[in-house]
């Protein structure tokens, strides 16, 4: 079962939706295996100033996407690349 924090990010995902004029878009997964995530970022002076997502996937996938957008905001590109699976899992308790 999911933790309260995961359920909170599933029920009230942060930064959910498409971004207009993003500086970068990434897509991972595919609908056949059941998970697809689109991540949008806006970058200024090498800092991610905004991030948004859309995810087709289970509750955990949506919560993880939401948490990732929270984690990358305000970080530099290099710092963001350091964010691991574990960091996201830890942040979700």
């Amino acid at each position: 079962m999911y933790s309260e924090k995961v359920m909170d990010h599933f029920r009230n995902p942060r930064n959910m939706g498409e971004m207009e004029n993003p500086d970068g878009i990434g897509r991972v997964g595919n609908p056949v295996c059941g998970d697809v995530m689109d991540l949008y970022i806006k970058v200024k002076n090498n800092i991610i100033i905004d991030a948004k997502f859309q995810t087709f996937g289970c509750g955990a996938a949506i919560a993880a996407s939401s948490m990732v957008t929270e984690l990358v905001k305000g970080k530099s590109i290099d710092e963001s690349l350091e964010i691991s699976n574990k960091a996201v899992a830890d942040a979700l308790g």
């Binding site: 599933f10 995902p13 056949v32 697809v36 859309q54 087709f56 289970c58 509750g59 996938a61």
Partner: protein, 382 residues
């Protein structure tokens, strides 16, 4: 908060009269039915009364009912038991691709022991074609096991046609009727099957009890060994309270079969959802289907999100099958029907039961489109 239970194909709530009967039994008739003194004889009488009630719901004779620990054991006993009895005659088994895991994994276990298994395909409605069965039969086929109706889609199989084909060739026919009993009329004489599985917890009875119907004259060996209980087909001191509850549930289900009412509620639900939600499709046969079952794919929304969001609103619904919930593998039933994997990931099963009312359906129709709209806004595929 309003609570609406719409996963009756996974399990049903226990009927209040069943609880009453079992409570009485636990308190008073605790005796071992195999003993000679009066308290044991009372238990034996209760056991036989329950056997009669279970036999009645499928039009069988009492002596053709063997109690088991549930549908899974009934399916294991039927298939392993026939294979043991007929092992000298052949090693070919015919089943279908859409069976419950308790049949499929039994067949896979036998496959590892050297048996040959034919898994019959289904059409896009999830229906087995009796012609396919005819083609699959070999001189060394010793059992055919095809479910009566599918737990995920509710599609009802042409069992009597297939049982006739089997009978003409002298091959024992087993049907897993766990999902059909209590929802539609099932009669072993009309079907012409040799073996049929039933589970109590799908008909408002307790969990942990079921039965295998074994037509008189069918050659079958036990798979458990011990005492003489259940004529040696299923040794072990009987689960009398469970059996008594099962018997009561069967008696009630036989009287109160709700085919028309459930079908009306279910069709109203689907027709309204179809009007309010775009890109929704029905899985299963449009008419030859259990009256309580509605399996739909709602494009661009992943099933777990739907289940969690509905749970937050007090509504319990299932994925195709409860067993698949843990694995997140797309359903083998939908795959066999040719449903693409991405749609299978977007599939929800509503299964109605005796407690559901028109008000429940109204509430669901009112809130569900909003849930879908919200979840679709999360989806990059929409």
């Amino acid at each position: 908060m309003r609570k609406i239970y719409l996963d009756n194909n996974a399990t049903t709530p226990i009927h209040p009269e069943v609880i009453k009967e079992m409570g009485n039994d636990l308190e008073i008739t605790y005796g071992n039915p195999s003993t000679l003194y009066s308290i044991g004889k009372e238990a034996k009488a209760k056991l036989e009364e329950a056997r009669g009630r279970v036999a009645n719901i499928i039009g069988a004779k009492s002596e053709e009912i063997v109690f088991t620990s549930g549908g899974t054991e009934a399916n294991n006993l039927a298939i392993f038991g026939i294979c043991k009895a007929y092992r000298n005659k052949g090693n070919h088994i015919i089943t279908s691709k859409i069976e419950h895991d308790s049949v499929l994994n039994t067949c896979k276990a036998l496959e590892r022991d050297g048996f040959d298994i034919a898994y019959l395909p289904v059409d896009s409605y999830g229906m087995v074609d009796p012609e396919e069965l005819k083609k699959a039969i070999r001189p060394d086929t010793i059992i055919i096991s095809i479910m009566h109706s599918n737990n995920e889609t509710g599609t009802i199989q042409p069992v009597s046609d297939m049982a006739r084909i089997a009978k003409d060739r002298g091959i024992p026919f087993h049907t897993d009727a766990v999902q059909s009993i209590g929802k539609i009329k099932v009669n072993v004489e009309d079907l012409g099957v040799n073996l049929l599985s039933i589970a109590s917890h799908k008909i408002y009875g307790p969990k942990g009890i079921g039965a295998l119907y074994i037509r008189k004259g069918t050659r079958i060996q036990p798979i458990l060994f011990g005492g003489h209980q259940e004529k040696g087909y299923r040794p072990g001191t009987e689960n009398v309270p469970g059996i008594v509850g099962f018997g009561k549930a069967a008696e009630i289900a036989d009287k109160n079969i709700e085919t028309e009412r459930l079908a009306r509620l279910r069709d109203r639900l689907y027709n309204s959802l179809k009007e309010k939600i775009e890109r929704i499709r029905l899985n299963g046969h449009p008419t030859r289907r259990l009256p309580n079952t509605l399996n739909v794919s709602i494009e661009f929304v992943e099933v777990e999100g739907m289940i969690l969001a509905l749970d937050d609103l007090g509504i319990s619904v299932g994925t195709g099958s409860a067993c698949a919930t843990d694995t997140l593998e797309p359903s083998h039933v939908l795959a066999a029907m040719g449903v693409p994997p991405q749609l299978a990931h977007s599939t929800l099963r509503f299964s109605l039961g005796m407690d559901n009312t028109d008000e429940d359906i109204d509430y669901l129709i009112e809130i569900f489109p909003g849930v879908i709209e919200r979840l679709r806004s999360f989806s990059p595929l929409y």
